[in-house]
Symmetry: C2
Subunit: 326 residues, 2 copies
């Protein structure tokens, strides 16, 4: 019997995994952007989740490395193509692939990266490849669908809270659930645990994304690592904006719609939108909503029929995400 | 025992398959470009190859539909992203996805299409999904590598014949081989047939791509369906150019290098390059090379230990490709 690894142990294991793995191959022009993207670091939340889920059901995390790498490669593929579509100059404080190597390299290396993700998933032992690939496919399609809804919302000012939650489920929570489910498959989780695991991933993902929205506007420059207010400058539909539009007076609503339909990207615009948010107590409303989803996630996690010490790393990960500043 | 289907029967079967399959889903903005691309038609060479290979080894082609669709979806995904990278306005006489829906739609719908290809492959029954996905992954990586080498060659004027053949093996023949191999797996081909099948796909792919190069410069506008000379206008490294550079006199070589390093896209430039090709008998050299590879393909096909009537559809497909005008 292996000792139970703490969250910190699992995080160290994932860091080592990515330090040791060689993503380069020939031709270098195709793989250098992939290697670069995977070396930019990040919190590696999804592979940590996968391994913690695997261990929770009694699986050996050292046997789940391929799936853990695969899920992170997939996530980073989506970031690479997102940066291209958004024409973002920076990712984690470094030049994006799109900026460093150009649009065509971003397209082709991103494609090779998606194929690479499948390579890791199919190499994972201890699970039926048809089960894992079917699950991975469904998850991957959901993420693409979420991104498309996100794009569609850009041209609408009547997005409802329900539509927004459905979108962020697909865009963010589906990948959390994919990671948790792969870990559960490798750990041979009992069937009755899966609905609870699903609810855990869903509410954790929703809380995480709403928190992302909140941090984008109210984050602290020094700890958030980028200039707050980007979503406002981009006229992006966020939980903050949708809630504000719902709760605003007629005059405020009119003003808000004016602000988010022009191409102004000034600090003045950011301040004006924030002033409306503040007057409507949007930050508090968001914090309450985030806490509600974290509570629901914790309840679902506690309903999983395993002893508490096996649940501990995922509970702690949840706490870390709740208190994150970036 | 099923009767042996002729090449024409198989082609009809594939046409029906694509007419009946529904590629649409929600959100429509994500799937409409996929549906559109797959409705543009084309010769459907790769699924036909897959099914003919399956039948050659005694498999039932009606049991191989998912793999056949998957290989064509993958091929069309590469075309969709290629058109984006090349900023091509037209594909099969119709607007490209890139032109019709924009660059971001081309990125995201292409990604969803690659995932869709995996969905069809993993749904294919009668083969081990880990075998088929591993094979499909290798093939898909090879195609990406081939495209990267093709891009790398754009900035070089010293590409050797060997390098060029390696590149078109990856870019074109690897996908032929993937289709043939998947068909062979579903048809439970004997192990000893596989090296011959590989040689068949390889030489057929090389012949096909060199013929593509030849048609691009010497094709007839009415039957080729597009203005000949595009490769010359794009300064693209082709078998014609590489052979011409090898065989040219010093003066011709200097002139050729001048012509292919400027951004001139006039008919005058096309005529001048063609004049050098003509004086070096490049069309005849290319036809001989194409015939050489077709002969090698036919020899490999004949070495496969099956009775001649089972080989017939692939032999006939080869003849059709040899005499194609587009």
């Amino acid at each position: 019997m292996n000792p139970i690894l703490s969250l910190n142990d699992i995080q160290m294991h994932v860091q080592n995994l990515f330090q040791q793995e060689d993503f380069n191959s020939e031709p270098l022009e195709l793989y250098a952007p992939i290697e670069y993207t995977l070396r930019l670091g990040g919190k590696r939340i999804r592979p940590v989740m996968l391994l913690a889920s695997c261990q929770m059901f009694g699986g050996d995390i050292r046997q789940a490395n391929n799936a853990a790498i695969g899920i992170e490669v997939f996530h980073n593929f989506t970031l690479l193509h997102d940066d291209l579509m958004d024409q973002s100059p920076l990712r984690r404080g470094q030049e994006t692939v799109y900026r460093k190597w150009g649009a065509n390299a971003a397209v082709l290396s991103g494609d090779a990266m998606l194929i690479m993700a499948y390579q890791y998933i199919v190499r994972q032992t201890g699970i039926s490849p048809s089960d894992s690939i079917l699950m991975f496919n469904t998850m991957a399609q959901e993420v693409m669908q979420g991104q498309q809804y996100d794009i569609n919302f850009e041209n609408r000012s009547d997005v409802t809270t329900e539509e927004y939650l459905d979108m962020i489920y697909l865009k963010t929570a589906a990948l959390f659930n994919g990671a948790l489910r792969l870990g559960a498959m490798i750990g041979h989780a009992p069937q009755e645990a899966l609905p609870h695991l699903f609810q855990f991933g869903k509410h954790l993902g929703l809380a995480f994304q709403i928190q992302d929205d909140l941090l984008d506007t109210y984050g602290d420059l020094s700890s958030f690592g980028k200039q707050p207010g980007q979503d406002i400058r981009d006229n992006k539909k966020t939980m903050l904006l949708i809630t504000a539009l719902n709760q605003a007076s007629e005059t405020q609503q009119k003003r808000l719609k004016e602000l988010i339909s022009n191409n102004d990207t000034s600090e003045h615009k950011v301040r004006q939108v924030k002033a409306i948010y503040d007057s409507l107590n949007i930050p508090t409303t968001m914090e309450n909503l985030i806490n509600k989803h974290y509570t629901q996630a914790a309840e679902a996690l506690n309903a999983i029929p395993v002893s508490d010490n096996y649940r501990q790393p995922l509970l702690q990960l949840m706490q870390e995400l709740l208190h994150r500043a970036n």
